[in-house]
Point group: C2
DNA sequence: TGACGTTATTCCTTAACGGGAATAACGTTT
DNA sequence: AAACGTTATTCCCGTTAAGGAATAACGTCA
């Protein structure tokens, strides 16, 4: 059993707008309600997580993540309705794309060395 | 008109086995018959081109690029039949994948800022 | 044998990336 | 007012990535 892996990124021409890492991060923010907690779950620095989020928020015409400082637990973050929509679009994108190329993936996989 | 761009890479789990850059390089090798000429056309250093090729040759169970030193023009490189097969598989992979998600791409694109 | 142009490989240096620490701002709770 | 935990932001530093230069090896041709 080998471990071929298709990575799909959406770029605006010079930077990734959403891809595997950013989508993962968004999902963890949904789960935890916090940027720092999401980052920790991914073994990612807060600094980097914030950068990814900032890139996304600046790339789209509406914010993806809404963050608040202060308050009951010091603050927190959640996806905007728009952010949820984009994340779901990305998930659908991946699902559809992968569903169509089982044959080609199998063929490429069969020629990959397995010890890596 | 915006410039959304979907990048698809095939990974073996820890490195890219074929993706946009490597596929481009292979095509240029077909066109030029030389690693150095192909690299030059892409504004890529020979050193890097060789690394990409080496990664591919080591990742698959057959060589993708066959290179020769010496001879009439100092040497040269060409894709093996297997390399041509893999490159075509990748092209088909991309074509099929992109063909299925026109709707999602259009939607994401419509929410991307255009000045980037 | 010497010239030629390409592949193959090593070494050094520079640039980019990302982590960690430090700090401020914030708003609720006590 | 003080404490708390999170976001937001800036600095510094080490690691890694990538480029360039240099050199050897190679096989054909003159």
């Amino acid at each position: 059993m080998k471990k071929i892996n298709i990575k799909i990124r959406v770029s605006n021409g010079f930077e990734t707008v959403i891809g595997p890492g950013k989508a993962d991060l968004l999902q963890h923010i949904i789960d935890t309600g916090s940027i720092s907690a999401a980052a920790k779950k991914m073994n990612m620095s807060y600094r980097r997580a914030w950068e990814l989020i900032n890139t996304m928020n600046q790339s789209f015409d509406e914010p993806i993540v809404i963050a608040k400082t202060g308050g009951i637990h010091g603050g927190g973050a959640e996806l905007s309705d728009f952010g949820i929509k984009i994340l779901n679009l990305y998930k659908v994108l991946i699902q559809k794309m992968l569903a169509t190329v089982d044959e080609e993936i199998t063929q490429i996989n069969s020629h990959l060395k397995s010890w890596k």
